[in-house]
């Protein structure tokens, strides 16, 4: 059978965001994959250099629509480190609470997306309905469903009342019941097993070599979790387990995420129990002295890495973001080789890709005429002569 080159993306129903996977097929089998990224480059890093730290809080939040809070916490931690601020314990606990709620809604969302990718739309509808419970809690706590605007440099912006605390705990009871049901479904439903078991294998040594992060590498039996290894916020005060499986396949990634839902609930219950009284915020100066800081958090998808270089003004000199999807993409190429076309969507979805958050750079590539690019100055000269030749410039 002749080899077929099948483009998945930049526009494709399996991808919620534009990226291009050029797949070489031999019959139904994937022989080679070529990934092109950069379609959703938004220039956020550059934009941050022209905004103050307070303005940047809300820009950083918009890097991702799902794990928005992990980015804000990273940014705040960076700025606080350069300023030498220590945030009040209550603020630290509340940050941890919102981080864990975010992980909950992200994992519920992912479970639904994974179901949809293998055609199990009923699972998709069920999990997204349950996700609403978390969204309502987040709205209750922060005032917003997606970009919470909950943080400020030096603490958090809103307090948590006794009534809200009760609502959070009630929500956890409900979600625990639902998660138990999904655990049953995920490991017992025959059609899910047949699509997820033994699919998209990522061996631990390969995963480590390609520096995969988050649930993707944890499903290969490597216990990497920033919350445990380098505790930030209040993760040092709570006890929880790092979930791993050693099945190395898509089913393992499903199981890891479902079991992590239980760990989230466990953490949130401890936080609610131990929540200390006190201030919400310490005052932070507008200008940040010269210095640099690095912060990483365990976003729902894996390690989220931020770097700040401050130059003594009220705007950052350089800011760098590396999202978990970027770290996991090289592993996807390995997972895809030798599988069936039908498995491509679920394998790509299994790393919980967030392409929009990932793109930090845009490479112009003209395959016809390599190397021929036009600079801004050249373009201006070209435009002026073009108009001058027509006598339109007077």
């Amino acid at each position: 059978m002749p080899r077929v080159r099948l483009p998945i993306g930049p526009q494709h129903p399996a991808l919620k965001e534009p990226e291009n996977f050029m797949i070489t097929l031999d019959g139904e089998q994937v022989v080679d994959v070529d990934i092109r990224i950069g379609y959703t480059h938004r220039g956020i890093e550059k934009l941050m250099e022209s905004r103050t730290y307070i303005q940047n809080l809300y820009l950083v939040e918009r890097i991702c629509g799902i794990c928005s809070y992990a980015h804000v916490v990273n940014f705040s931690q960076n700025v606080e480190e350069v300023l030498g601020l220590t945030i009040p314990p209550r603020a630290s606990y509340l940050r941890t609470l919102v981080l864990e709620l975010e992980r909950l809604h992200s994992h519920f969302l992912w479970l639904g997306v994974a179901g949809h990718e293998i055609g199990f739309d009923t699972l998709f509808m069920y999990t997204w309905e349950d996700r609403e419970v978390v969204q309502d809690l987040l709205e209750d706590i922060s005032g917003n469903r997606v970009n919470y605007a909950y943080n400020t440099i030096g603490g958090v912006r809103r307090d948590l009342g006794e009534e809200q605390k009760k609502r959070v705990l009630d929500g956890m009871d409900y979600l625990e019941k639902r998660a138990t049901f999904y655990k049953e479904v995920a490991v017992n439903e025959k059609t899910i097993l047949s699509r997820a078991e033994g699919v998209g294998i990522l061996k631990p040594e390969v995963g480590k070599r390609l520096a995969a992060v988050g649930p993707t590498i944890r499903a290969s039996g490597v216990a990497v979790d920033i919350r445990k290894e380098d505790p930030y916020a209040s993760y040092g005060d709570v006890s929880f387990d790092v979930i791993t499986t050693d099945s190395c396949d898509v089913l393992g990634r499903v199981v890891v995420r479902v079991l992590e839902i239980f760990e989230c609930i466990k953490i949130i219950r401890q936080l609610m129990e131990k929540l200390p009284a006190g201030d919400l915020v310490v005052k932070a100066p507008r200008k940040v002295p010269e210095g640099e800081a690095m912060s990483h958090t365990e976003a729902p998808r894996g390690e989220d890495f931020h770097y700040l270089h401050a130059n003594g003004t009220d705007k950052p000199d350089r800011y760098k973001v590396r999202t978990p999807t970027m770290a996991n993409l090289p592993a996807v190429v390995e997972m895809l080789k030798g599988t069936f076309l039908a498995d491509v969507p679920i394998i790509v979805a299994a790393i919980d890709p967030c392409m929009g958050c990932m793109d930090r750079v845009l490479l112009l590539k003209d395959e016809e005429k390599p190397g021929e690019r036009i600079s801004w100055d050249q373009l201006r000269v070209y435009a002026n002569t073009w108009y001058a030749n027509r006598g339109w410039l007077g």
């Binding site: 099948l6 399996a14 055609g119 509808m125 309905e129 439903e189 025959k190 699509r195 491509v344 969507p345």
Partner: protein, 324 residues
């Protein structure tokens, strides 16, 4: 007068117009129940009709790379074949409109044509997703056609007739036949789900893999016809199972032949058909899509051997002198 009546039979009831309405209602039921099972609201009653009318009015594009004749012919053939198949089902009375000895085979044959039309439509659409989807249609054809045929022949063997109305009548007289061919009914349901390319067998149009497969380039009128053909196939396929395995329009409780008996038979047929559709919806909402290789192995490892067991049982029982 008789020829006028024949035209009414053909065009209005139980012919084209009725099948059109019933197919759209089948689609409504499919979408609504599927939505309710998923805790969604679902479409209003007239939504399928509105969709159909709107599609008719939409721009109809034939891609440059497509073969214009085949691209147009495919949906028309699909629709015609399904509508023709419907005329042989005993819908209202004990005998179908054009019933004859051997009409079961004709219906099975006609119900295969939409699948071939899907393959050809995808193949000639000139789109890489369409071609891939068309190839999947063709490669899956034998996975479900063989068990479907074998399973449906078993009640025919029991009844000793290839005529749909006779099979239904036999089951009405021998209710035990329904129990005996229960295995065949289950195989028939699974194979019909594959025939209709519904979950878990919607491999040819797997939205998240190959967009919509053979239908990807279809738009406007041609797409509306293809969709109508699919809806009609759902109704006719379910009706066929209802007739062959559940006794179709029987039991007729009204002793006098006449309008009342007609209504009685008609209601029975509808109830049974929608029961079959209901089973198909339940199956669709509880599973994920399987892969091509998994479907082929399911068919050859389970469905076909079980269908052969069923037909062997039927042959043995028939040769022993039939059921009581």
């Amino acid at each position: 007068m008789n020829s006028l009546l024949a035209v009414v039979y053909l065009l209005v009831f139980p012919g084209f117009l009725f099948l059109f309405v019933a197919s759209l209602f089948g689609q409504y039921l499919d979408r609504k129940l599927y939505a309710r099972i998923q805790r969604r609201v679902g479409p209003p009653l007239l939504q399928p009709f509105a969709d159909f009318v709107k599609l008719l009015a939409k721009e109809d594009v034939v891609p440059d790379y497509a073969d214009r004749v085949m691209f147009t012919a495919a949906p028309i053939f699909a629709l015609t074949a399904v509508f023709a198949a419907f005329l042989y089902l005993p819908v209202v009375a004990s005998v179908g409109l054009h019933s004859f000895q051997g009409d079961l085979i004709v219906v099975l044959y006609l119900l295969m044509i939409p699948t071939l039309a899907m393959f050809l439509g995808g193949w000639y659409s000139g789109n890489v997703f369409g071609v891939r989807g068309g190839m999947r249609v063709a490669s899956l054809l034998f996975s479900y056609e063989i068990p479907f045929f074998v399973a449906l022949l078993s009640p025919a063997v029991l009844a000793g007739s290839w005529r749909l109305s006779t099979i239904a009548g036999y089951e009405s007289g021998h209710p035990l036949a329904i129990i005996v061919s229960l295995l065949g009914f289950v195989i028939g349901i699974i194979a019909l789900q594959g025939k209709l390319e519904r979950l878990p067998f919607d491999i040819p149009e797997a939205e998240t893999e190959i967009v919509a497969g053979p239908l990807v380039e279809y738009s406007g009128r041609r797409y509306a016809l293809f969709r109508l053909a699919r809806d009609a196939e759902l109704f006719v396929g379910a009706g066929l199972l209802a007739v062959v395995f559940l006794g179709g329009p029987y039991p007729i409780l009204v002793s006098q032949p006449g309008v009342l008996a007609w209504v009685n038979g008609f209601v029975m047929f509808l109830l049974k058909t929608f029961f079959v559709i209901f089973l198909l919806i339940l199956m669709k909402s509880a599973v994920a899509r399987i892969r091509t290789d998994q479907m082929v192995s399911l068919a050859y490892k389970w469905l076909i051997p079980l269908a052969l067991v069923q037909i062997t049982l039927a042959v043995v029982l028939h040769s022993l002198g039939g059921l009581l």
